[in-house]
């Protein structure tokens, strides 16, 4: 398996995508899995969630978006498959059974009136079983065979990053061709602002000048309100004006008591500007490399 990944925001996933999503908090899950579920339910896709969870607790539906799963369950557009039924044999995770269940569900959805099919499951529990890692790897290969050729189905495999070793994460990640992340909070074709969770912060892409100070201020306010260190990844930011740097300095100063604002992956040009105008002006703003301290 090679190491090539396509990175996509969840809103831009395509049929045939068998995507990897490792999370480290509920907020992150709500952003990504929630958007995946909502996107399906609101556009007439069949949505299948393999989980033991109560439908009312599915991420990103009721809490902020007031989507009641019951109505979708009644029409069959939303289906909850408990792992015990879909992928356990005598209490042990059975990759063949899960793949067979999935193929069955996909085949049935073909005959229903749905535009497409979305499947997601949190595989963390399976990895944690005895020889779970290898079984999940088998399962992923089977899922890939079922999903990748499809012109209607897409899937997200969720893993709780905090429950896995680095080696496990690397091995599992490599069975996917697509890495899925949160949709941008803002995207007007010139500037994209996307929440990031590991490390916590924002990814800025494109050009940031006076025309977008207001949206940037709002995003910065929201992300710094939670406290702790905040990383602004500026790798793909081609331009930032002095006004936006000034806003960063202000935010960094306000949060100085409870965290640091760190600029990650700044280009040499941007680093020079920050150091030149910031040596004295922005003492709270740090230049970093994306690593959490």
């Amino acid at each position: 398996m090679d190491n090539w990944f396509a990175e996509r925001p969840v809103g831009q996933m395509l049929p045939g995508d068998h995507a990897w999503f490792s999370y480290s908090g509920e907020d992150e899950r709500e952003q990504v899995v929630g958007a995946f579920l909502r996107g399906g339910l609101l556009t007439s896709d069949k949505v299948i969630y393999i989980t033991d969870a109560d439908p009312h607790d599915l991420p990103g539906l009721r809490e902020r978006h007031e989507i009641e799963p019951d109505a979708y369950l009644r029409t069959g557009q939303l289906a909850i498959l408990p792992p015990a039924r879909a992928g356990l044999t005598a209490g042990v995770f059975d990759p063949d059974r899960l793949v067979a269940s999935l193929e069955d569900v996909l085949a049935r959805a073909e005959h229903e009136r749905f535009r497409g099919v979305r499947v997601t499951a949190d595989m963390t529990w399976a990895v944690r079983q005895r020889s779970g890692r290898d079984r999940v790897l088998d399962c992923e290969a089977g899922l890939d065979r079922a999903i990748a050729p499809s012109t209607t189905a897409m899937a997200i495999c969720q893993i709780d990053r905090r429950s896995c070793t680095r080696d496990e994460l690397t091995a599992l990640k490599q069975t996917h061709e697509v890495l899925v992340g949160a949709d941008p909070d803002f995207d007007d074709g010139v500037l994209t602002i996307t929440r990031t969770f590991t490390p916590r912060g924002l990814r800025l892409k494109g050009e940031l000048d006076g025309a977008r100070h207001i949206v940037f201020a709002e995003a910065l306010r929201a992300v710094t309100a939670q406290g702790g260190d905040i990383h602004l990844n500026v790798r793909d930011l081609r331009f930032i004006d002095l006004g936006a740097l000034n806003m960063m300095a202000g935010a960094a100063m306000r949060m100085a008591a409870h965290g640091t604002l760190i600029l990650d992956d700044a280009s040499p040009d941007l680093t020079e500007v920050v150091q030149l105008v910031g040596g004295r002006m922005l003492p709270w703003l740090k230049i970093g490399n994306g690593e959490t301290q």
């Binding site: 050009e207 000048d209 500007v273």
Partner: protein, 299 residues
């Protein structure tokens, strides 16, 4: 002090620096690299108590120089400051000389509250006449054979400031390329300036600095000025000039953009940043409108 040979330079510099070292002052010598060796040798052990800085780097552009002095002062809280400075400017154009003259004048005002003694040295043989003329207008005392005495030619900083700004900017040449700026979205402006700058061999970091400076000036014109806002750019000898005009009459207070802003307030951060980034910034404003002209060397 105007001098005319290394001997006279050392005769003046040595007692000035030694006195500061002996008094436990924070002593700084900003001098050309070529002079550093002989001055260090002449000072002997006392040289260890003197901070030496290369004038060529220190005097790169006025706000950077002011910021550097501010940092030195902040790094020595409570100490009396003693500075020996020999800028050794190689400034060519009239506009650059005018801006350095303004700088020399501003520091009298900006650091008036600082307990400091500053001795500026100019080599009578190599310093241009225009520079010397400025020096005489901006130093309250001159050191002669009999020691320091009041300089009758000294002018109040606000007078020098007005003199510099009284010089009109050269007219925009007919071949200048022009772009109206009609909104705060400045991507197109950056593309316009970037294309011309690259045509003139300005690339990478200097281009980036120019685009940040241009964007800032245009943003201010849009937010605080009056329409029409126009950007013009042209090549002038070895320089690229970017000129942003608007129809408003801006009446700035104090010393706009020359002094480092208070980091807790950060008012005036924008224009100060522009002056830090761009080698020459000229501001002219009046009832007919406001113009800010940026000039970078195309190397």
């Amino acid at each position: 002090m105007l001098y005319a040979g290394e001997d006279t330079l050392l005769d003046a510099a040595l007692p000035f620096l030694t006195e500061g070292v002996e008094a436990g002052e924070a002593v700084l010598a900003v001098i050309p690299a070529a002079t550093t060796g002989s001055l260090r040798r002449a000072l002997g052990l006392a040289a260890n108590a003197v901070a030496f800085r290369d004038a060529a780097h220190w005097y790169s552009q006025p706000p950077r120089t002011i910021a550097a002095y501010s940092s030195f002062i902040e790094d020595h809280p409570g100490a009396r400051i003693r500075v020996l400075a020999e800028p050794g400017w190689e400034c060519g154009s009239e506009a650059e000389i005018a801006e350095w003259t303004r700088y020399e004048s501003i520091v009298n005002q900006a650091f008036a509250e600082v307990d400091a003694a500053v001795l500026c040295l100019y080599d009578r043989r190599t310093t241009a006449a225009d520079v010397l003329d400025g020096v005489l207008r901006t130093h309250p005392e001159l050191v002669g054979d009999s020691g320091p005495c009041a300089n009758d030619a000294y002018l109040d900083p606000s007078t020098v400031y007005a003199q510099v700004d009284g010089q009109p900017l050269p007219p925009v040449p007919a071949h200048a390329r022009e772009m109206p700026i009609d909104g705060i979205d400045l991507c197109a402006l950056r593309a316009f300036v970037g294309d011309h700058a690259e045509d003139h061999g300005i690339t990478s970091a200097r281009l980036h600095d120019l685009l940040v400076a241009t964007t800032e000036v245009a943003t201010n014109a849009i937010r605080h000025g009056l329409s029409p806002v126009t950007c013009r750019t042209w090549a002038d000898d070895r320089d690229l000039v970017v000129d942003v005009t608007d129809g408003g009459h801006w009446e700035p207070e104090g010393l706009p953009g020359f002094l480092p802003p208070d980091p807790f307030v950060r008012a005036g951060f924008g224009l100060w940043g522009v002056r830090m980034l761009c080698p020459l910034v000229q501001l002219r404003t009046g009832p007919g409108g406001t113009a800010i002209r940026l000039r970078v060397r195309a190397r």
